[in-house]
């Protein structure tokens, strides 16, 4: 049973990841490559559908599919590949209002706030990470220099804009 941090709560995750057994009505995540290979099969899925982006994927390619998607998983494989930050940012810019879930071995407390500020609202924490420290890390800063939830941007405080 997998637990994830979603909107600051440590909850049991019902989503099925690629490769995990899933029924037609389960909440299901498929890799973008598979969705592209067999779109009819996956888009017919009757449960909620999510897509997992690989770091090299361009989220603009999901534009047309976003209304059908409830979740996009963005991968942070380590502490150096930061493409996921741009993917999450672009997804929100495209108006995606569903869950953006950070997945991968880089989903650790030290990067969570940056992920959250790019639009990730769920975190499948890397092995060994505890939710308590993760939550603490999310609360470490009271301001940010950029327009970025969940923190107040300095400009908003300075100018009330």
């Amino acid at each position: 049973m997998r637990r994830i941090l979603r909107q600051r709560e440590w909850i049991i995750d019902r989503w099925r990841y690629p490769g995990e057994p899933a029924s037609q009505t389960d909440e299901l995540i498929v890799p973008l490559a598979e969705l592209r290979a067999q779109p009819e099969q996956w888009l017919r899925h009757s449960g909620k559908l999510g897509v997992r982006l690989a770091p090299a994927d361009d989220p603009e390619q999901l534009r047309a599919d976003l209304p059908r998607l409830s979740l996009v998983a963005v991968e942070f494989p380590n502490f150096s590949d930061g493409r996921g930050f741009t993917q999450a940012t672009v997804l929100r810019r495209l108006g995606f209002a569903g869950e953006i879930r950070a997945v991968g071995a880089g989903v650790k407390r030290d990067l969570l706030l940056l992920m959250a500020r790019c639009g990730c609202d769920a975190f499948d924490l890397a092995e060994g990470e505890d939710p308590h420290s993760a939550l603490q890390a999310l609360g470490r800063y009271s301001v940010a220099y950029q327009k970025a939830e969940p923190l107040p941007a300095v400009e908003r405080v300075r100018f009330g804009a």
């Binding site: 940010a144 220099y145 970025a148």
Partner: protein, 551 residues
């Protein structure tokens, strides 16, 4: 200069607390070496040859006397009483102890300083013209824009884990003293005098293993679009920059492989799609920051000739180490950190304190660092220059060699740096000894000598009129010489003149090079212009004509 408000202050303090926690976790074994590396680099901390090295940010090279005193105190307490200024206008400490670094950062935060993003694959310290605000040829003071970029780039959630480091420079003058073509993004302020202000945008420059000069990607960007455009460039780079090979990861390689036309298309397309979602630079925001850079309260002073009746060494110092000021009665003064017999860019704690005092007394309490590793007191009354010179001379900070051959740039090299292939400091000393006669240096005129201990090119050797690159040759330190590089004016990359030479022969090689210049120069022609006119062949011939060891 910019003063933190409560928000800036809260931010740096929270950053220190975060790094303290990360350091504890690393020392306790609960944070891996690799992960801690990514985090410590973004706080300026390298692990070097002998000890950690901490690179302290000096945003666009501007310091208050109070900050400089704090740096002196830090080098005394946590280091060996000496600091080293870098080509990014920062200060490096070579002997801090890892467990004490959070304390150093806390002391920095107490004087509105930090070491954030001075290393790591993120947007680095924004650099600028060291004569900003005082240069007679200035269109607009670039420092408010630098500060706005600093804030925008600080822990930018999207761009703090880039493929590679990312350097931005801003120039606001006719003459580019910020080396914008050697930067990932170079911005030249355009407009002014009634016309709307904006930037000419250059992209894809960088030195290092594969030196490339930036190309112009946009002729005019309205100032309010600054962040939107920077975000567009960085987004394209973050998505498409290579991550499979550290040596191919800079944006210059992406620009080279796509071509500037395609790069421009991608950036402009991204800019159009993203600009509504990017912050705009508002007039209020600009006005708030600009207010911090109002000119100091200059007094009405006559222009005088301070050299009248003074001794020759002062005349030389006045000529070479001071510059014209846009306000009558004032001069900008270079504090030379290039005394012969000392490491270029090094400064002792005592010297820092003394310069801080002098700045307070004579230059409105501000000091600038330059990308060629000197300091500037930008606002000195002409009537005080003689007194200042006497004091600087006592401090060994008045070597009248600014712009001359021995005003050389040198990275720390093999003595400190874990990346270096060869020493730079001993070579610098040998060059200083060989060219110790100032009159000879004046006869040679302006020559920019830049030296790096490895191909990462922290010493900017590619854009030196004479560049020296340390290479490892079967365990021995050898040096490759380039000629004809330039960072400002007409930016050019230097050309290698031939096989590298052993350490002991570097000064003799330089001597032969300058002899060729002396023989070939036209009346009043500068070294760089002679090199451009006659090409490198005559230099090559002379350097390798006979055995250097005999020279």
């Amino acid at each position: 200069m910019y003063h933190y408000d409560a928000l800036d202050q809260a931010f740096v303090e929270q950053r220190v607390a975060e790094f303290r926690d990360q350091t504890h976790r690393f020392l306790a074994g609960s944070l891996s070496e690799e992960e801690f590396k990514a985090l410590r680099l973004r706080n300026g901390l390298y692990i070097q040859r002998h000890a950690p090295m901490l690179r302290i940010a000096i945003p666009y090279g501007l310091l208050s006397s109070r900050q400089l005193r704090a740096l002196a105190a830090i080098t005394r307490r946590y280091d060996r009483g000496i600091g080293h200024f870098t080509t990014r206008q920062n200060l490096q400490l070579n002997w801090p102890k890892l467990p004490e670094v959070p304390d150093i950062l806390a002391e920095l935060a107490a004087v509105q300083m930090h070491a954030i993003q001075t290393s790591g694959n993120c947007v680095r310290n924004v650099t600028s013209d060291h004569l900003s605000g005082v240069a007679p040829d200035e269109i607009e003071d670039p420092r408010p824009y630098c500060e706005l970029i600093r804030q925008w780039a600080t822990l930018h959630p999207e761009f703090t884990y880039l493929p590679r480091k990312f350097k931005i420079a801003v120039s606001g003058s006719g003459e580019d003293r910020a080396l914008i073509q050697a930067h990932d993004i170079g911005l030249r302020i355009r407009g002014g005098a009634g016309a709307p202000l904006g930037f000419e945008v250059w992209v894809g420059g960088g030195l290092g293993r594969q030196p490339i000069l930036a190309q112009r990607v946009r002729e005019f960007l309205p100032a309010e679009e600054l962040f939107a455009y920077l975000e567009a460039v960085l987004r394209v780079y973050n998505r498409l920059g290579r991550r499979d090979n550290i040596h191919k990861a800079r944006i210059k390689i992406l620009v080279k492989s796509l071509g500037i036309e395609r790069m421009r298309e991608l950036i402009e397309q991204e800019w159009r799609s993203g600009r509504e979602h990017s912050p705009r630079l508002t007039p209020e925001q600009l006005a708030r920051v600009r207010a911090h850079f109002e000119p100091p309260p200059y007094e009405t002073r006559p222009d005088i000739d301070p050299t009248c009746g003074r001794e020759a060494p002062f005349l030389a110092w006045y000529r070479y180490n001071t510059r014209a000021h846009r306000v009558g009665g004032y001069r900008a003064v270079f504090v030379s950190l290039k005394a012969h017999g000392r490491n270029p860019g090094d400064i002792t704690a005592g010297q820092m304190e003394a310069v801080a005092d002098l700045a307070e007394e004579l230059s409105f309490g501000e000091v600038r660092t330059t990308h060629d590793q000197n300091l500037v007191l930008a606002d000195v009354p002409q009537s005080e220059l003689y007194r200042l010179w006497l004091r600087l001379r006592e401090l060994e900070l008045a070597t009248a060699n600014i712009g001359m051959l021995t005003d050389m740039i040198a990275c720390p090299g093999l003595d400190f740096c874990a990346l270096a292939n060869a020493g730079t400091l001993s070579v610098a000393r040998a060059i200083q000894a060989r060219f110790d006669d100032l009159d000879y240096l004046y006869d040679l005129g302006p020559i920019e000598l830049k030296m790096s201990g490895c191909m990462n090119a922290c010493g900017h050797h590619h854009i030196g009129h004479i560049g020296i690159l340390g290479v490892d040759k079967h365990g021995e330190e050898w040096y490759q010489i380039t000629l004809g590089g330039a960072g400002s004016g007409r930016a050019t990359l230097g050309e290698v003149i031939g096989p590298s030479v052993p350490q002991a022969q570097v000064p003799a090689t330089l001597e032969r090079i300058v002899e060729v210049y002396r023989d070939a120069r036209a009346e009043g022609e500068y070294f760089i212009d002679t090199v451009r006119r006659i090409g490198i062949e005559p230099f090559k011939e002379r350097v390798y004509a006979t055995d250097l060891a005999a020279a």
